[in-house]
């Protein structure tokens, strides 16, 4: 009797998660794949084949945009790491108690705010009639308005801004767990700041670095708002291309193939990152 009741309870608990994962995650992705390998012959007439994927590789605009998105995302990840590491180190090692909490909170607050608002802020700062342009003019450094929006540098600034928290938080967590006495020991044994950084701090922070990089890369690759708003019409971001195929061109077959390629790249990077660092997904995600 009792075991029957607990079995029933078990199935009742199993039902919602299965419904959620099967109906909203697994089946839609299988559906996406099926659509991506169907070619349109006429209205409501389809044939199975890899035509959409061939179209991707034979049209330079498509694969170049894909490559560009990937390279810019890698660059954004590297920049975020380089810029975020000193901040994380400062928060974890050089501050104590209240200051630490305050600095950490100051890092968090911008990320509770919608990405749209953050991007809007950058538009106000960077555009032709924007704050920076006016500032430069009033300082007499330039003679006319300067357009700083709608170029790759603007996209990069926005991408780094949007994702830096996801680098800083895991780094602070791992650096916090590094015992100061290890660093002291390094100095006692005659290490220089650089060699201690290289041989003690960075190896210890590696799990944090890897999880930060994975998350930042994924977020940049899948970002839509920042490249479209800060990069303008010619931003050539792959998510923008997916949107065009789906909503503007109504070519769902090609759009699904694009979606699958993006998903493939993003999963590959996650997989490689985890393999290289010998971590599991749950460890990495549990941290952020």
């Amino acid at each position: 009797m009792r075991s029957d009741a607990s079995r029933l309870g078990f199935y009742l608990l199993l039902a919602p998660i299965l419904l959620w994962l099967v109906v909203l995650i697994i089946l839609p992705h299988i559906g996406l794949f099926i659509v991506s390998i169907s070619e349109k012959l006429g209205p409501r007439e389809y044939e199975t084949g890899f035509g959409n994927y061939t179209a991707f590789f034979s049209e330079p605009l498509y694969w170049r945009t894909f490559a560009r998105t990937a390279i810019m995302s890698i660059l954004a990840t590297a920049l975020t790491l380089v810029l975020g590491f000193p901040i994380a180190y400062y928060i974890a090692k050089l501050t104590r108690g209240r200051t630490k909490t305050v600095l950490f909170l100051m890092c968090m607050i911008p990320f509770w705010v919608s990405e749209l608002v953050r991007t809007f802020g950058w538009m106000i700062l960077l555009r032709e009639t924007g704050v920076f342009s006016n500032l430069l003019q009033s300082l007499g450094l330039v003679s006319g308005p300067v357009e700083m929006l709608y170029n790759d540098a603007a996209i990069m600034v926005g991408l780094v801004y949007t994702s830096i928290l996801f680098m800083v938080v895991p780094l602070v967590t791992t650096l916090d767990s590094l015992d100061d006495s290890l660093i002291e020991a390094g100095y006692d044994l005659g290490g220089t700041s650089t060699s201690i950084m290289r041989e003690i701090v960075i190896p210890h922070a590696m799990p944090g670095i890897v999880s930060g990089c994975i998350v930042v890369f994924m977020l940049s690759l899948g970002n839509y708002l920042t490249p479209i708003l800060l990069g303008g019409k010619d931003s050539l971001w792959f998510t923008g291309m997916i949107y065009t195929q789906f909503i503007t061109r109504f070519n769902w077959e090609l759009g699904s193939a694009f979606g699958f390629l993006l998903l493939g790249l993003s999963s590959l990077v996650v997989f490689l990152g985890l393999k290289l660092s010998g971590q599991t997904l749950s460890q990495t995600m549990g941290r952020s």
Partner: protein, 286 residues
């Protein structure tokens, strides 16, 4: 570079300067958004034309404030509706998942846990299009078979809710599972020994213990739902949530009314964020 090891003054000074510059970089976009909400000009840009509250309360064109701009008010309502359903569903399913993962051993548990984490690594746009494709083909098949209309499966609020729910549930599950793992089962056993029913013990002992995590994850879910853009963009129909409305207005060229909405959003999200932290802190203290 730790406090106990002396460093040359110059290096220390450079480091401090960098940290300062970094926090200025963090604060700058949000600050300008807020400041220009009060500029008495129809463009959110310099020069400064004087202080005004017209972008909040104004009712005469072109100075139509947030509280009189119908499209924005309506989309705030839409967002609130979506957020309510998403957070309710996510917390309910998240709580079930927590009990399943903490209290039960079964074959394929590790696999199921992995699957549960999947939504975190799927880009939001892909999640959106996959649900769009799937629900549309389901709608087509059903309509062909029955001859009836299935509008709920076409882009619109039900799909937006499902799309956001599909990944926010993972966060809710992680937060509530972490809390349930700290629960001492002997408390529940004591309740059972004292004559409580199984369900009564959970209701009286376990759920109150989980409450901080439940509240925190509900708050975080509301925040994430309000801010979600990528998934929503692909699934939205004619009623658009706030972020989509703002995006459309932003593309058309903006007036400071967007700054005013943004300022309100910043305040609300900061407050909600702090609340969720407070609850999580209480959770770790207990």
């Amino acid at each position: 570079m730790i406090p106990t090891v002396p460093q040359p003054g110059f290096a220390k000074w450079c480091y401090r300067a960098y940290v300062t510059v970094f926090f200025v970089y963090l604060a700058l976009p949000l600050t300008v958004v807020c400041v220009f909400a009060f500029n008495n000009s129809v463009f959110p840009s310099l020069p400064w034309e004087g202080f005004t509250l017209a972008w909040f309360f104004g009712s005469e064109a072109p100075y139509i404030g947030v509280f009189n701009e119908r499209s924005i008010l309506r989309s705030i309502g839409t967002s609130a509706f979506v957020a309510f359903w998403v957070s309710g569903l996510a917390v309910a399913v998240g709580t079930c998942n927590a009990f399943l993962f903490v209290r039960h051993e079964f074959r394929g548990k590790a696999l199921l846990y992995m699957l549960m984490l999947m939504p975190l690594i799927i880009p939001g746009v892909i999640l959106g299009i996959s649900i769009l494709v799937f629900s549309s083909s389901a709608a087509n098949a059903l309509e062909d078979a029955t001859g009836m209309w299935f509008d709920g499966l076409r882009p619109g609020l039900p799909l937006v809710i499902l799309g956001q729910f599909s990944f926010i549930t993972t966060f809710a599950t992680l937060v509530i599972t972490a809390r349930l793992q700290k629960f001492d089962p002997s408390l529940e056993e004591a309740a059972l020994n004292l004559g409580a029913s199984k369900w009564g013990a959970i209701q009286q002992i376990t759920l109150p213990f989980l409450l901080p995590a439940i509240v925190a994850s509900a708050v975080v879910s509301i925040l994430m739902s309000f801010e979600n853009f990528n998934t929503t963009l692909m699934l939205v129909g004619s009623d658009s949530p706030l972020t989509i409305t703002m995006f459309d207005k932003l593309k058309q060229g903006s007036t400071p009314v967007l700054n005013a909405v943004s300022l309100l959003l910043i305040i609300v999200s900061a407050v909600l964020g702090l609340i969720s932290l407070l609850f999580q802190k209480r959770k770790s203290a207990a």
